[in-house]
Symmetry: D2
Subunit: 396 residues, 4 copies
């Protein structure tokens, strides 16, 4: 396995050389002043990526799942009610976590392939005149279905209901790849990880808390120590950690935010949109459909592609790995066997994307699907060369 | 800061080149069969290092603190009683975590510099005829004081009291550097991290559960998801993780155990003992004393050195960092300002140790302590050259 | 430039992660016994790749050009006659080097796109009844034109002429990618570098000398010190170098030969042929032609592709680099502006090759050539999936 | 061998992390504009390190020995006379190279341990009224004996003799570590390598030519192609190379010069002097003597230390490697077995130097020399802490 193709899983993503090198640090004393020169700019950089000036960012040696747990355990108490919609594996898992922590979840069962239903959120919150619901949970980008939800609409739903609940957003597979407006949408807790838009190895849970979310810390009765934001706050005041931090990954995070901000967030988002659009053009050329129901739901970081009835979509992933050494994502949960997924986030170029499309074509033909070799590639090429040309013209 | 001296903090340790390279992996699909070829041998290797044939090992993208939380949340319920002695900052923190999770802790307040008092454990357990105490907590190596406790004696205390409590051992700064016998001592949960004896970056919490500990999973009522051993068990059966694993670090862990086992665990322990003995010889030559009260308490991974009354021990650490770019450890908690610490675990040679001793001497002289330059070095040199000679003779 | 596409230049090639890591070594004393444990297997490995049991291999911290100079300065004297054909930029440069070193070169001017004309070699050697010609030079693979010559035929020509001249072969862009039989073809000096089939950074010149070539060392009057094989021989006897070796690259070379031999040389060659065939299928689908005149001349490591009359082939390379961040090779010398080159040697997969083909298509369409997007990709996909299928079937 | 002590050989030196990472580059097309962004600043940086505004710098994928060959083959013709003193292994080898290239060398046989005798140079040049001597060769720092020669004095000797000969200086183990004034001393060709003061892996020969030296290119009749400065000049005009460059090492060289210039050359030299002085203090404390005859000859990059009559100095190096895994340098040529060498150049700290001194002490005691353990360390510590203190005071 010494020749390495790009991966097309929806994270961990392909990693830029410079970020791998920044993360691969010799040991540095995390109690020395040098550590602060890593931590401070890393936290400040994340804030800019989140488009927030007011939130506090906390980074745990953990993953996105740990971020979810950070959100709920630091603000809620056993028996608290929370509101969440289930429309994919990751929204499901967060709901499951809440239930396992003794929270009462008002679950809005939604279609897998649809987004978070803002109208249903509004209805339920409006009905909750006693304000028993303490938090509203939304998965910004459902990695299982390739669906992006409209967080602004959820915020409007909460406001329309004049409800004081906190808004928690899982941005694990959206943040740093698609537009995310922590302040603009008045998000109270945003969660992400290192291994997606930040293009780093897995190992960091990133949680940003609004001032309102921080106010809940002391009343929250769910037990936590490792994920306790209070300990983190105290330590950060001294540029330190309550336990041993993942120094190398933090150094990578610092550089990652520098790269993203130097490229310009809007350019980063446009790049993801361009690459995703090429992949969607390929899917259309193949005569296949996305799991996402609607164009405005299309995720720019992952596409879940429905295969014909009776065909085992998982075989595409297995075959691609075995024969071509290329990694795609399988369908999960309700859409297991029905979709396969192409991850297209993080460190990816048009050129790399074309190799993923070309591989998917070979695999599908190998497995007997009626796909014309080169058809998806041509559609994506057409998109890439024209969008690029416009960019070049615009710059001229 | 482009010239790198060894660090002499009690972890994260100096890292071998090969382990850094093994940990710095390109992205590998953690849902592919290739991942199993990393995970399985890593887990098997850890078992051998723990000297257990029966325990189950779980590795979380977290740190030792997360390991503590794994131990208590997977086996205990709110209101449960546990027994623990406090004799340093790390035993203190585990107790604090238990209390924050709603456990009732029978705290044995002990002297900092002493070890876990097996007799007191036995007394209390014997008195607990109703077997309300569910778990006994011990810190094998108190990193704050450089004290190694006798886990075998604690096991005997439990057995003498004929008490069914589980035995949880924090081996964060002992495992893989000092003898640890999970089966021999009938330890129920052993906790460690990646950044100490395994010589890797921080980022992995390693928890080993005995069969008896696993039996407690279902009855344990403390909420947990990220650290839930049940999810981990289910996923491991498919060589998978319940969330994104830290693949690179796991690959490093696999190689780390290979290196340790190839060297031979007893040789690894002897190496740590040899290096530690040299450092202790230096301390004696300086006319200073260890925080550890007794020779049998001396830790082979960290030495906490008392400085004269009225002298601020922390200034040694600050000065060494600022003037010589060398990292030592400060005193923590009760011994803050009274001791400074030399970490001597992980990837360290006699030659590197001598540079740490030499630096400490310069620092102490700079700060006005009555130390003879070269005195500690000479004592350590004498030790190193003779122990090495014996080894060479033995091998001949 | 933090996102990295594969390169499609005819060397330096894409490098496998493991070889980069093996080459990136901490400093090791090259006068210590450890160095021999790198040097010996590296030399032994190269011998196996060259399919020789009798030759002596020498590795200089230099490049292929230095290898050419090693060949001529160690065996020839000013005024000596050598025979060489010119059919590309690299055969031209070796001839030029000979002339600059005071050798008389009988140049066979041949068509660029053709191979080494064995019949003309035979004629001239047969006519040289006084055996004034001391060496016969052949470029195995003309990197400028993508032409592979038949070294066995040249050997037959020499033998048919009953001529004692030495046979020097430039195998820089063939060795370790295409079949090379040092003993089978009775090659006297074979030259290559680290940055092609060995998939390493540039920085090593590799020269293998037959026993007959070594006999010429003492009589050779061309001055040399850095490239003197006699100094190298003396030093190698002690696992040492006459000056500072490039230890890291040698360590990389050791591992490279291990990887190549583990894969199996014939499998390595078949892989290059498969990938090259796919690229040639794409060229045919585009309606373009290779510079190489004949099918048996097709190189499996580089394809030089003729563009239509009046089109500046170099613009393809410039445009691909600027717009798509992909590197192809320009035409050199006589075919400058007439061809562009796709390098397909070293560490390359079918999947990566498809991304190069797809990029070339976009570029050509951007520049107004009448190429159908996806056409070349489809042709290559068809080839790759079928050849792979056969391999899978054969293995079953 | 997975635990790495610093090396104490006089090159290749210990390498800073950042330089290793800069040198370990993914493949970059050396014919693309990106390459110029590496090459130009690397060449400009070297000029500043050489303190020249007028010289042209050329960098070959080779080593210092190749640099020597570059100097003589580009400026001289067979039969030309050159003047050189022999006072160590490296001055000897350069003389030997000249002779093997057919030059007539006026050798000034000098004592090993002494420097280049400016008075003898002046005598001979004055006597050469016919100006037959074309070049004067001097080894700035004799790595074999730890002797630094006075290049300014040689320049004065040439000028006093009103002689037009070119001045060639081997600065392999001095440049970037000790003061070197290419313009100030009117050096015509300066030679160095990547693996000493530049702290990089071996693999680059660096040659700087004055305008006067460049004038000799066309008349020079010694054959050369790989080392031909004319080809290099032509290619550099297009930010290119006449053959494949060592791109990664050039990128390392670029960063190395940036680091050196950011630290300040005089600070770099002072740092080498400070570390060297500490080592010399240790030698005095041991009651041993340097090979260098006089204080003004002491090299700041390497110390050759005489051992007592009848003792085999080489055994120190062998024993240190075998027992302590530390690399020192053996004596070479005339002083083989009489001296061992401590290299103290490149990336080295006081703290690392102390570990080398401590190791040497253990080794010498092991081997029966009457050395007091810790004595040299104490002398060096005393030096380091005081020099550092002054620096701290000066900065305050």
């Amino acid at each position: 396995m010494y020749m390495q193709n790009p991966v097309f899983i929806p994270g961990p993503t392909n990693m830029p050389e410079v970020l791998r090198k920044a993360s691969d640090m010799p040991t540095l004393d995390h109690r020395s002043p040098l550590f602060g020169e890593i931590l401070r700019p890393a936290l400040a950089g994340v804030k800019k990526v989140l488009k927030t000036e007011t939130a506090s960012v906390f980074v745990f040696p953990s993953t996105g799942t740990g971020g979810w747990e950070t959100a709920i355990t630091n603000t809620l108490s056993p028996g608290d009610r929370v509101l969440a919609a289930r429309y994919g594996m990751f929204s499901h898992r967060w709901i499951d976590m809440c239930q396992r922590h003794g929270l009462k979840v008002d679950v809005i069962e939604s279609v897998w392939g649809g987004g978070a239903p803002a109208d249903r959120y509004e209805e339920i919150l409006t009905a909750d005149t006693g304000h028993e619901i303490k938090a509203v949970l939304v998965t910004h980008n459902e990695t299982a279905t390739g669906v992006k939800s409209d967080i602004g609409a959820i915020r409007q739903a909460i406001d329309a209901a004049k409800h004081p609940a906190l808004l928690f957003v899982d941005g694990v597979s959206s943040i740093a790849s698609m537009d995310f407006r922590m302040d603009g949408w008045a998000v109270d807790i945003a969660i992400t990880g290192s291994q997606k838009g930040f293009m780093l190895p897995a190992g960091l849970a990133i949680a940003a808390f609004s001032a309102k979310a921080l106010e809940a810390l002391d009343s929250a009765k769910l037990p936590r120590t490792f994920f306790d934001v209070r300990d983190m706050t105290k330590s950060y005041a001294n540029n330190a950690y309550p336990y041993t931090p993942a120094v190398g990954l933090l150094n990578g995070l610092k550089l990652s935010t520098e790269l993203l901000l130097a490229e310009g967030l809007e350019n980063v988002f446009a790049r993801h949109r361009r690459i995703a659009s090429g992949i969607r053009a390929a899917v259309r050329a193949w005569g296949l459909e996305l799991c996402a129901k609607d164009e405005e739901l299309y995720s720019d970081t992952v596409s879940a592609i429905r295969t014909p009835e009776g065909f085992d979509a998982t075989s595409i992933v297995t075959h691609a790995a075995r024969k071509y050494d290329v990694a795609f994502g399988v369908g999960l949960g309700e859409v297991a066997g029905k979709v396969f997924r192409i991850g297209h986030l993080g460190s990816l170029t048009d050129v790399m994307a074309l190799s993923g499309i070309a591989t998917a074509e070979m695999v599908m033909v190998d497995l007997g699907l009626e796909i014309t070799l080169g058809s998806g590639v041509a559609a994506a090429q057409d998109h890439y060369r024209n969008v690029h040309l416009s960019a070049v013209q615009a710059a001229a």
